[in-house]
């Protein structure tokens, strides 16, 4: 309506005087009425609308277009006002696409619509206003008038002065009278498009469309929301829309969920120069980059980062030669060396950037400067939030620039990442910038970005206002702190050195130095072990890496491990991401040391050559001939030293090798000879514990840690088959078969063919109260006991458990002692060891309890009792019968043989038992038993490693070694064999037997019958008939 307007403009001045008068009166009325209702604003939308109308009236006056509709007499015309306005606006909308007036129009529309809703009240009110306006008009003087006009003109165009407080927002909550939100399915990825198209449709079709709004959420794919009163309106609106499928179900959003639909987080991205970002995709994924320029219009950002460029590949590519399409590996980040590139005949152009005036080296379209690569990428391809560069990254970034300036640039962005409430009252702080640099003080008050600090220095105002950005938290050596953000988050430690904003901590977990930003720590007395596990990998595991190298994890970082590589020549530490770790290696491998002694995991080894010469400690891992030795005096690499096995010697003899120079049973105590590894903490030890315990069994069968070892070490009785009635400890479990070491022979029987209740017949066992316990109907009590047995055996390598064993047994045998309370105690005893056992974590949490030292309690309670009872290997075997494997077949990993737990040496753990006393207790029994076992003139089976088993006859026994003549009657060659390589050949009925144990040891007799596990023997000397355990009967061969 351009013509119309022109006319108005012309007439504007003419009518001005009159207009002003009119305005005046209206203003009076309007402002009063408006004022009154404005106070009520927010409480009711109804009143809101009023205020709107009132103020709008004033605005109408200014509005030239409205002038015409207003000229007539007031009373009558007012009533028509709304309708007239309405028409006018439509005209405006149609004719005039110029947005100049839209602002006002928006307001008008609001009023008019409400006006049509509530015509009656409106009129009434207006009349009232009009009257008042008339009344007061006479009293106005010109100055006042002018002032009012002025005021009016400065009145905010929109009545938007309501504070958006939460309370008022509450008043806007949807009610049943409000339009509803309907959820409509649309083509995926077209949500915004649909919303915009519906808007366009609405404009084109006018008010045919009765929808109020359409919402497309960024985070909700496949759906849009349409606001309308009725579902039919929605259907009408979406009819014919290309991206909305016909006949889609339209879902109503419940009224209380409507606000949720509209509650979106505003993703704040503050990208400015020097902001640290990370690349999201491509070769540089995860790499740190620094923003150098932001193009907000084109949504692109220029970053500098350390290039990952394979110059060779680049050279051949630029030469036009074929390059392997997809390289598996990403070149490591390295600063671009232009000279190097030139040497490879890569064309390097030096160009000046027209915008900044800086020179860049251009190689194949890539820009480099000072070794950095400058890359312009989409804003979407970088992560800008919560980017906290690590130390290493920052160091790398700062390398090429010599000045400390850039360092500070980086720091300030670090500070930009500070959370609110970073400084708190009482914090010790130091000024790091400006005139007051190095001033120390305490935070007195924090006011937004300004921190008031109290310096305590004379001559300075107290408190002193400092910008937060110029402050850094201050710590002193000796403070105990906790890291609250960054890669080392969660770690605690003591500050050992302070270098400006950088602290060096001695971590409580790793006892290593950790560098952190002062900003990232808070003072805390808390001591945490920190995280020791990522995924399936744990600290100090031996892991296989992607490139087939291997190493021990020595430190944890965010999603990454520091790995000490298996490089014996020099310590090599690599930071390895979780995904770069292929698997954990926990094979039990034995290797030979320099003198061909066998080293297994858990043995003590000393390094006798190479860079780590002289170091000594338990072997933690063995792989490919490389030993990882733990020396707790070694401060680097978490105490791990990597050495070739040939550069080491076993200290004190290998435990697995002990069987060479001792009897079978003796080998069980070989731990006395080989100083048991001293675990710095029980949890680390447990990893190897399984294998160790087993190896310590010393029968050369180590290294086959079976899946289901719950039976291992338990003494079983064979129920079925040819060995029915035989008893013995289980030495190996494989599938459905178990290998049982009978007193004479190791046989393979079906697992179902064994029972765990061993009736003990030998005198010594008869006295064993354990066996009695095992026969009392206390099965229920045994079951809970079992979990304890497992860790105990496993960690039997640690001396503590010897102590543990005794009270536990007492408990086990005493049916009246409840199991649970002690367990709790144990658990509480050492919370630090929680969650540290890799083997037992899933299945038997109580295992941790085992590490809890119950100092001396159980130990002291039955020093002699249980120990002498446990004196014979058999007894300890029978003791284990109480770990009723059939009841708990699922217990994971019980890699222990009966005895190994029992006879561990006193290590610095403070075990009151010394090796000597331990031996004293046992030796008589052992002696008897040992002699009983290998006596001359009995038929044995010889199992030499790597050879087929053979039968032979023991001819002589000396010093624990047997002289055996091969052949079933001893006619063959004579060899020397260790008792551990020998097994008794069980006699058959009517065989002549030699009794190798018990009070009739040494006697010869005839086996006249077999009754279960007992043999009926007619002793030749006195023709007495005795019922003896089959296990102590050996086939006699006449010399």
């Amino acid at each position: 309506m351009p013509r119309h307007r022109e006319e108005d403009d012309d007439g504007d001045e003419d009518y001005d005087g009159l207009e002003l008068e009119e305005e005046e009166e209206e203003d009076e009325g309007g402002s009063r009425g408006g004022g009154g209702s404005r106070q009520k604003r927010g409480r009711s939308s109804f009143f809101d609308d009023y205020a709107e109308e009132d103020s709008q009236e004033e605005e109408d006056d200014e509005d030239d277009e409205d002038y015409g509709s207003r000229r007539g007499g007031k009373g009558a015309k007012r009533k028509k006002f709304s309708a007239a306005r309405f028409v006018d606006d439509i005209a405006d909308q149609v004719d005039d696409d110029d947005e100049e007036e839209d602002d006002g129009d928006g307001e008008d529309g609001f009023i008019v619509d409400n006006g049509t809703d509530l015509p009656d009240e409106r009129v009434d009110r207006r009349r009232y206003h009009d009257r008042r306006g008339f009344d007061e008009n006479d009293d106005e003087d010109v100055d006042d008038l002018e002032r009012r006009i002025q005021e009016r003109f400065y009145r905010p165009q929109e009545d938007y002065d309501e504070e958006a407080t939460d309370v008022e927002q509450q008043a806007l909550l949807p009610s049943v009278r409000d339009p509803k939100l309907w959820m409509v399915k649309c083509a995926i990825g077209r949500e915004r498009e649909v919303a915009v198209c519906l808007m366009q449709k609405y404009i084109d079709r006018g008010s045919d469309l009765q929808i109020r709004s359409v919402v497309a959420l960024d985070h909700l794919k496949n759906f849009i929301y349409v606001e309308a009163d009725k579902e039919a309106h929605v259907k009408e609106a979406i009819k014919g829309m290309r991206n909305i499928y016909a006949n889609q179900k339209i879902l109503l959003v419940p009224i209380r969920e409507m606000t949720d639909v509209l509650s979106v987080e505003s993703k704040a991205i503050d990208l400015s120069r020097d902001t640290w970002v990370r690349m999201k995709i491509g070769t540089y994924k995860g790499d740190l980059a620094k923003v150098v320029d932001v193009d907000n219009v084109r949504q692109r950002v220029t970053v500098k980062l350390i290039p990952r460029i394979d110059l060779q590949a680049l050279a051949s590519k630029l030469d036009g030669r074929e390059v392997a399409k997809k390289k598996a590996f990403v070149p490591p980040p390295r600063f671009m060396n232009i000279d190097e590139a030139r040497e490879l005949h890569i064309r390097v152009e030096r160009r000046r950037d027209p915008m900044t005036g800086d020179y860049f080296e251009n190689i194949g379209g890539m820009l480099f400067k000072d070794g950095f690569m400058y890359k312009t990428v989409s804003l979407k391809s970088i992560i800008a939030q919560n980017v906290t560069p690590t130390f290493d990254e920052l160091e790398k970034f700062n390398k090429p620039s010599e000045s400390g300036e850039s360092d500070f640039g980086g720091l300030s962005t670090l500070f930009a990442n500070r959370k609110k409430g970073h400084f708190m009252k009482g914090d010790a702080v130091i000024v790091i910038k400006g005139d007051l640099k190095n001033l120390k003080g305490w935070v007195e008050k924090v006011d937004e970005e300004t921190v008031l600090i109290r310096s305590g220095l004379k001559g300075l105002p107290d408190p002193l206002a400092v910008n937060e950005k110029e402050l850094c938290k201050y710590f002193e050596p000796g403070n105990h702190v906790k890291v609250v953000s960054g890669t080392h988050e969660g770690a605690t430690g003591m500050v050992v050195k302070v270098d400006q904003h950088v602290l060096i901590l001695l971590s409580d977990t790793t006892k290593e130095h950790v560098r952190v930003f002062a900003d990232h720590v808070v003072e805390s007395s808390e001591v945490t072990t920190g995280v020791t596990k990522i995924g399936q990998f744990e600290l100090h595991d031996l892991v296989l890496l992607d490139n087939l190298s291997f190493g021990v994890t020595i430190r944890l970082e965010n999603e990454a491990f520091q790995v000490l590589k298996g490089n014996p020549d020099r310590p090599e530490v690599a930071l390895v991401k979780l995904r770069e770790i292929k698997c954990k290696l926990d094979r039990k491998i034995s290797v030979q040391d320099r003198y061909k002694n066998v080293i297994t995991v858990g043995d003590d080894a000393r390094i006798i050559e190479g860079p780590s010469k002289g170091k000594q400690g338990p072997v933690r891992h063995i792989y490919k001939g490389v030993l990882f030795i733990y020396d707790r005096h070694h401060l680097e690499h978490a105490g791990f030293i990597c050495a070739k096995c040939t550069s080491c010697v076993v200290v004190g003899g290998s435990r697995s090798g002990a069987n060479r120079n001792g009897g079978d049973s003796l080998s069980r105590f070989s731990n006395f000879k080989a100083p048991a590894p001293v675990p710095p903490s029980p949890r680390r030890f447990q990893r190897g514990g399984g294998g160790m315990g087993y190896n310590a069994r010393g029968r050369g069968r180590g290294g086959r840690g079976g899946r289901d070892d719950s039976l291992l070490g338990t003494t079983v009785k064979i129920r079925l088959g040819p060995f029915k009635g035989y008893r013995g400890p289980v030495v190996e479990v494989k599938g459905d078969s178990v290998r049982v070491e009978l007193e004479m022979k190791i046989v393979t029987v079906d697992r179902n063919a064994i029972s765990d209740n061993v009736a003990v017949t030998t005198p010594s066992r008869d006295t064993s109260r354990y066996s009695m316990g095992s026969e009392t109907p206390m099965h229920p009590s045994r079951t809970p006991l079992h979990p304890y047995m497992t860790p105990m055996r496993d960690s039997g390598a640690t001396p503590i458990h010897d102590g543990m064993r005794t009270p536990m047994r007492d408990r086990a045998w005493n049916p009246y002692t409840p199991m649970s309370p002690p367990r709790d105690n144990w658990e509480e005893g050492n919370p630090g060891s929680w969650g540290t056992s890799p083997n037992y974590q899933p299945g038997s949490p109580p295992s941790r309890a085992y590490e809890a030292p119950t100092p001396g309690s159980g130990w002291a309670s039955t020093p002699g009792g249980s120990y002498s009872d446990a004196g014979t290997p058999r007894d300890s075997g029978s003791a284990y019968a109480n770990a009723p494997s059939p009841y708990l077949p699922s217990t994971p990993g019980q890699p222990m043989t009966p005895s190994s737990a029992s006879y561990l040496p006193g290590t610095p753990g403070g075990q009151p038992m010394t090796p000597g006393t331990g031996l004293d207790v046992m030796s008589p029994v052992i002696g008897g038993d040992a002699e009983a076992w290998f006596m001359p003139d009995i038929l044995v089976e010889i199992h030499k490693a790597g050879e087929d088993s053979d039968v032979g006859v023991i001819r002589d026994v000396s010093d624990g070694t047997c002289k055996v003549s091969l052949g079933s009657s001893g006619e063959g060659d004579t060899i020397m064999a260790l008792p551990s390589e020998l097994e008794i050949v069980p006699p058959r009925k009517n065989d002549r037997v030699k009794i190798v144990g018990g009070q009739y040891r040494g006697s010869i007799g005839k086996l006249i019958g077999i009754d279960g596990s007992d043999g009926i023997v007619k002793i030749e000397d006195n023709l007495d008939v005795k019922i003896l355990d089959l296990a102590i009967l050996a086939k006699f061969v006449q010399p």
């Binding site: 839209d102 928006g106 609001f110 165009q157 309501e162 806007l172 919402v215 987080e265 505003s266 704040a268």
Partner: protein, 116 residues
């Protein structure tokens, strides 16, 4: 019908920007040619540098408001008194202080976005 609608975005991609004050969403070119319908005092059409200053590409969600006065959603989002058009649910950054000052001078309300 209350008022003339604002320009409707001519594309749906990343060329879109949102006015930091009223949250109107249009393309950069539209802001350049016609300014912001709700905030003419920014005079974006005259000073193109200002477009970058008072609009942002970082916004979250789009709401097309057909009938601002009667739309609950518009009222809830406090855009009920603006021209019909496409708005965003939330912008991520506040106006610069200078621009906030302009708002004050013009006596228009400005509510900075709540930072999450």
């Amino acid at each position: 019908m209350g008022s003339a609608p604002a320009q409707i975005p001519t594309s749906f991609g990343h060329e879109l920007r949102a006015c930091l004050r009223c949250r109107l969403v249009k393309t950069y070119d539209q802001f350049r040619d016609a300014g912001c319908e709700n905030c003419p005092f920014f005079k974006m059409e005259e000073d193109h540098e200002r477009i970058v200053e008072v609009t942002t590409p970082n916004f979250n969600g789009i709401i097309s408001v057909m009938d601002p006065s009667r739309s609950w959603a518009a009222r809830w989002l406090r855009i009920g008194k603006f021209a019909p058009g496409c708005y965003t649910l939330a912008v991520s950054e506040p106006l610069t202080e200078e621009m906030q000052h302009i708002c004050q001078e013009e006596r228009v309300q400005y509510v900075p976005p709540k930072r999450m």
